[in-house]
Each structure stands twice: as C-alpha cells, then as structure tokens.
C-alpha cells in the first residue's frame, strides 16, 4: 500500500528501483548519486530484489555494461552525476543510437574545474544532444514519480530511447522531505514486463548490433531516432496520464503555475521552482499577476506547447543553471526559439544563477519579479543576459 515517508531524494530513487526490480544495474559511485546505488546494493544484499549488480571500474564501463545488458534482453538502470556522466559521454550516444531503453538517475552536479560537488545543470545540459529523454524533478516526490514513469516511456515501441531522470544534487538528493511511495505490486503492475527487441542471447535468431554505418545509412538511422524523440512527447503525456489514473498525481511536459492570467513569468528547471512557487503565492496574494513555468521534459522540448502556454504573457525571465560559454543559457535558447513564431511576442531575457550550488534566495526571486516589472514598464529589456548573485556584478 502507499505510504507517507520521510526520505532523501537519492533514497527515493533507490526505493523506486527496489520496487521496479530491474534485471541489471551496472554502476560506479560518484557524489551526490552514490546513495542511490549504496541503498540499492543493500536491497540486493537483503534479498529484496533479484537484480544483478555489476560494480564496474569506471562510468564509461557502467554505461557500456548497461548497453550490453539491455542488448542481451534485460531491463537496465543506473545512476550517476557530473564527471561520472561526462566519462559516459561516448556510451550515452551509443545507448540512444542503439535504441536501448536504459533508465538512469542523474543527480545534477557541477562539472570541474574548480572541483565542486554541488548542484547545477552543466552535466545534463551538456548531454542534451545525446539522444536521451531528459525529465527534470522539482522535489523528491517528482523524482520518484518520474523514475517510475521512466521505463514505460523508454520501452514504448514508438520511442525505445534511454531516459535520464534529473534532480538537483544535495538540495534534493540529500535532503529529507516527506513524500508518498506507492504499493510495490502496483508499481510493478504499472511498469509491466519488459520485452526486448532482437536480444543478443536469442541464439535462434542471430542479429548484429553496432554494425558499421556509412554514408549510405547513417543519416537514415539518425532520422529514425529524431522521430522516436518526437514520438516521446506524446508518450510522456500518455504515460503521465496513466500515472495520474493509477496514483493520482498529475504531470505534463511542463508545469504551469499561476500562468492563466499571468503577465510576468519566470521559467526554470528543478528545485528552484519550489522557491519560485512560494514567491508567486506571496505576490499573487497582493494582486501581482506573476507565474511560473517549470520545465519537466527538456528533451524532447515542447516548443509549441510552451508557446501556447505563454500566450498573453508580457515578459518572461528565463533562469539557467548551466553555462554555455560564449552563448546564452541553454534553456533561454529554447524558450526564445519557442516564442519566435508567437503572434504577440513577450519580452524575454536570461539570468544565470546557482552555478556550483550558489543559493538563490526568495528575496532574489522577489527582486527578479521587481526587475521584470520595471523592464515591462519601460517596454524594453535593459540586459538580455546577466549573472545573479555573483560578487563583482
């Protein structure tokens, strides 16, 4: 039966993995994702799952083993962070191109150097072109729910792509929050059985995986992958609806918070959305027409849907927690692209915050709403891009 528990974000992920009982989990520990595998290996030791855990010598090997185990016909999961995923880089592309529905918990952490273990999104944002579906989570509950939806999305025959479930390192992964876990049997029934395509262990039907693909076919394979990612949008919505019917919590490609009549909107990803909601509530109570659009699916990116959701909005502040040196933030680029075709374009600008775990306080968010208010009154944006909370301005 479902339970209300106090648990860390990382703990919630290992709990979801225990309930889903994957066939194989190849993993290499890295802060702040370590607890996911640490807790999960305890479940294995206690006989609560019959998963094969493969302790590997690096993350490159972890993802390689994921691909191999998935190709062999298993349901496969892993977890990593930051430099760990950076070391998987080559294999991330191979997992998605070989259309293996691997499910990975990615606990967002800054990339070195200087070495830093705290939250920003430079790891996952760098991997945005790797062909993985990326779902982001505001809190423990969303991370848990996203992970339970992940296999159904990844394994859908119109998709067959790997999925990474992202959450902020430490802020979510290591903080205890109360949340609802669901019944083991219900979770198992929800995700169903995994049927693999062309399993390499099927010796009756030999198949070749990872063959050479030159000028005559490579681009056709990429085109098919592109279509799978397009299909993923519909499948994410479908699976989210199934999840709502089964467990009662509602999810979409993004969350619209007080957007209906909002004039000034902040768009953000992951845990900061929690603070922004508080600030929106504060200001709404005083009659200020502000709102939040929180991204859940960054890949695939819902351009049309976001354009529609922002109809009537007059100014949009996009918060990025990942640098793209020499360019605007990655989220800003997508949002401005989504708005280019809008009949009435709102003003839109970009603020960089929180790199390496730097806090953004509620007072800062209030200030952002004051700033976009003055921009709106002036009818123009003074600075399209700027840093928040950095010494020296």
């Amino acid at each position: 039966m479902s339970k209300i528990v106090a648990i860390t974000g990382a703990g919630a992920m290992s709990e979801a993995m225990r309930q889903m009982n994957p066939d194989v989990v190849p993993a290499f520990p890295i802060t702040p994702s370590t607890q996911v595998i640490e807790d999960f290996s305890q479940f294995i030791a206690d006989g609560k799952v019959d998963t094969e855990l493969i302790p590997v010598e690096s993350e490159h090997s972890a993802m390689s083993a994921c691909i191999g185990a998935a190709a062999a016909g298993g349901r496969v999961m892993t977890a990593t962070s930051s430099a760990g995923m950076a070391l998987m880089w080559e294999m991330l592309y191979i997992a998605s191109s070989m259309r293996q529905p691997v499910v990975m918990t990615l606990i967002n952490r800054a990339l070195s150097a200087p070495i830093n273990i705290h939250a920003d999104h430079s790891d996952s944002m760098g991997a945005r072109d790797a062909g993985w579906i990326q779902l982001y989570s505001e809190n423990n509950q969303e991370a848990y729910d996203n992970l339970i939806m992940a296999p159904k999305i990844a394994e859908h025959m119109d998709v067959r792509l790997p999925v990474m479930i992202c959450m902020d390192g430490f802020i979510i992964s290591h903080c205890v929050q109360t949340m609802q876990t669901e019944d083991d049997d219900q979770v198992k029934a929800f995700i169903g059985e995994f049927t693999s395509t062309y399993p390499v262990l099927d010796t009756e039907n030999p198949a070749t995986w990872g063959a050479l693909d030159l000028q005559d076919y490579y681009i056709e394979h990429k085109r098919a992958q592109h279509m799978a990612m397009q299909n993923a949008k519909r499948v994410i919505e479908q699976v989210s609806e199934d999840f709502y019917q089964t467990f009662g919590r509602k999810y979409a490609l993004f969350e619209s918070y007080q957007l209906d009549d909002a004039e000034r909107v902040i768009i953000a990803i992951n845990s900061i959305a929690g603070e922004i909601k508080e600030v929106v509530d504060d200001r709404r109570a005083k009659g200020d027409k502000v709102g939040l659009l929180k991204i859940r699916s960054f890949r695939p990116f819902p351009y049309e849907e976001i354009k529609k959701a922002l109809q009537g909005v007059k100014i949009v502040t996009v918060l990025d927690r990942s640098e793209s040196m020499g360019a605007y933030g990655p989220l800003f680029g997508e949002i401005r692209t989504a708005l280019y075709d809008a009949a009435e374009k709102p003003l839109v600008y970009n603020r960089m915050y929180g790199l390496g775990g730097r806090d953004l306080f509620m007072s800062d968010i209030h200030q952002l709403f004051e700033e976009n208010k003055s921009y709106l009154e002036a009818g123009r944006v003074d600075k399209v891009f700027d840093y928040l909370n950095v010494r020296g301005g």
Binding site: S97, M98, R99, Q100, R160, T197, Y198, N205, P206, A207, T208, W209, G210, A211, D213, D216, Y217, E220, H221, R223, A224, M227
Partner: protein, 112 residues
C-alpha cells in the same frame, strides 16, 4: 538489382541499426576490391587444398572427387570471384608454385 539490395527508407530500418539476420556477409561483393586476380590452372593442381585452408574469404570452392586409387576426396572446383579480394595468399602458399617448376595459381592484373 533485387529488392534485398535496395537502399531502405528510414521508416523501414530495424530498430537501432540492428542487422536482423546472421551470415549475411555472403551478399557483400568484396570481389570489387580486387586489383589482381588469381587464375587457377587445373592441370597443375595436386588438390592439396592448401589454398582452401589459407583463403580468408572462403573463395576456393571445392567439389567431391576421387583419388587415382578411387578413394573419395575433396578437390578444387573453382574460385569464387564474387568474394575473392585478390589478396594473393593462395598463390603465395601453393606448394606447386613454391617448387617453382610449374604454376598452379597465377596472379594477373585486373583489367577494368
């Protein structure tokens, strides 16, 4: 060209670039790679099958035959030029060629 070799549209491709059948390298015409061609002189061949052992493409085709005493044995039938890359290993390893008095397998230039 048969439909088997038509370049497929992206919608028709098996998932993830899989080749969903075994042993299909037999359909690959590696013979087009050849710059020199082995020519087999049957009258000099002692059917020792050394060329068949060494050929990396399995391009030496055998048939059933008999020894002078009437015992069954395998004999060289022909060279499969669809697969032969012209590497010259057969000519190099042929013991008749090595003795130097006769030539059983001769490498001649391909003329396009």
């Amino acid at each position: 060209m048969s439909d088997k070799f038509r370049l497929k549209d992206w919608q028709e491709l098996p998932l993830g670039g899989v080749v969903p059948e075994g042993g299909n390298s037999r359909y690959y015409e590696t013979g087009t790679w050849r710059t020199t061609r082995p020519v087999w002189n049957q009258e000099n061949c002692i059917n020792c099958l050394t060329c068949w052992v060494f050929c990396p493409e399995d391009a030496i085709i055998l048939k059933d035959g008999t020894t002078k005493q009437g015992k069954p044995r395998k004999e060289v039938a022909e060279i499969n030029y669809f697969h032969c890359k012209g590497c010259g290993l057969c000519a190099k390893e042929c013991p008749v060629n090595k003795k130097g008095k006769k030539i059983t397998i001769e490498m001649v230039a391909e003329v396009s």
